[in-house]
């Protein structure tokens, strides 16, 4: 999978753009994400249901993965079962 790929959650409305990725499985709501939504929605895992936030970037501890949430949903994002955390922008004091 290459950067710029848009992935959809099988368990909720979440959609992400892949900014950086390694070989693991990117999941949302506990289920693997894919470019197409499956015909039957996966169940939302209670362990991965903190929700995703529009416009937030999500990274792993090693910074090997980075996702940009472009559609929010009820599931939270993880890679191989390990939850991702948000990465904040460092806002400029309105320099543009």
């Amino acid at each position: 999978m290459k950067p710029g790929t848009r992935l959809k959650s099988a368990a909720c409305d979440t959609e992400v753009m892949v900014i950086r990725t390694a070989g693991g499985t990117i999941e949302c709501g506990g289920a693997a994400m894919a470019e197409e939504k499956p015909a039957d929605a996966a169940a939302l895992s209670p362990d991965h249901s903190n929700g995703s936030l529009m416009g937030k970037r999500y990274v792993d501890a090693d910074n090997a993965y980075e996702l940009l949430c472009v559609k929010p949903g009820k599931g939270s994002l993880s890679v191989d079962g390990v939850a991702l955390v948000t990465k904040d922008a460092k806002p400029l004091p309105a320099s543009d």
Partner: protein, 499 residues
Amino acid sequence: MNIALLLEMAADAAPDRIALVCDGKRWTYGDLLAAARGAFEIIQESGVEYVALLDESSEASMIALFGAALAGVPYCPLNYRLADEDLTALLSRIAPALVIGDEERVERLAGDQGHTVYSRKLFTLKSQETWPEGEEREYDPGEGIAVQLFTSGTTAAPKAAILRHSNLLGYILGTVEFASADEDDAALVVVPPYHIAGISALLSSTYANRRIVMLPSFEPEAWLKLAEEEKVTNAFVVPTMMSRIIEKLNEGVSANLASLRAIAYGGGKMPREIIEKALALMPKTGFTNSYGLTETSSTIALLGPDEHREALASDDPKIRARLTSLGIPLPTVEIEIRDEDGNVLGPNEPGEIFVRGEQVSGEYKERSALDAEGWFPTRDAGYMDEDGYLFLSGRADDVIVRGGENMSPGEIEDVVLTHPAVGDACAVAIPSVEWGEAVGMAIVPRDGHEAPGEDEVKELVRTRLRSSRVPEKIVYVEELPYNEMGKLLRRKVKEILAD
């Protein structure tokens, strides 16, 4: 990823929010996205290699930027102030292009170059009408070039600087929090569309969901009026604009700027006198100096509002001097100062500014200027003090090399400018048989003053600096040649001195 994603997300999250106010018309994010998708259809159909703009800022510049991105065609806004001859040359470098704007001029200058030309009005209208809502479209994935800007060419012929989707997105995602603007926030955009600050202003405000208030052509009273009427909260200006706004305020033009929280400036050297006046006139406004280049997708270092106030209030000359600094590098980029042999220099040692980071393209159409480790030589000369504040002394190409000794024009100019009868001054290299190069100087006498004598100027430089810096040739002129962004055109000063 494609920069059009920024608009798609804004339109998704806040379709009915006002995105743009221009010439009294209001556009929502939904309107703009629909028009950008319509523009995609027009651009696809035309089969061009570039989408160019030969016009002032308007809704068309925003629609063209995002429409071209969706189509995967580089967007190339052109400087409409260029002379016919220069513009013809630039148009030929991007043929065949879809050119939006001055139809008559394109026809006259480049009628035989194969361009497709639209007036602003027709392009906007057609874009609004053309989106086939509901039909599936395959938009460009954004792996290539988003924007091509011709550099202003103050020292040489304009270079075609390339900004990829990844450079611009790296800058925006790293520095703007999505939808962070309040519904009442409004940014006054007055920089021309062909300037990098004009591009980044559109992208940042879109991603922050901040209303853009466009002033297509700068005029200080119009700027003040629009800032008041639209309750503008943020604005970006170049130093010459700031100086003219202050002039109007000093003349007693009244404007309620209570909403104006932040003014950022950049694009040229801000005279200390002007920024000090601005801070005094607008005590509640936060000022930010932002330093960046076309090749770095805009800002790479900045001096923030608190640092401005702190510097102004300080008695410590070192802290006070920060008012003329570029501030500190963004956390998302790395900056180094290097000497001519590429050695990294320590604090306060002058050299060339190098920068590295995701937002740094450093790429021209013909070649990349990045070194093997991804560092971009800015060709700006400067130094960093021990606290990490970056100071600019001029363009590296402007350095005068006299008998093997490197001299910064800024250093000599600063001394000459302390003379009460000198209004403006510019030092450039002139050919010298003995030394290779020597210092030439153009001086603008201050209004109402007798021009200072050559000997007086030479003596001033000799006592304050050293004898090698003393100008060998001095000419007196009525004004120095600045471009519309307030950049001093040193190559023209060289021409004056050569005569």
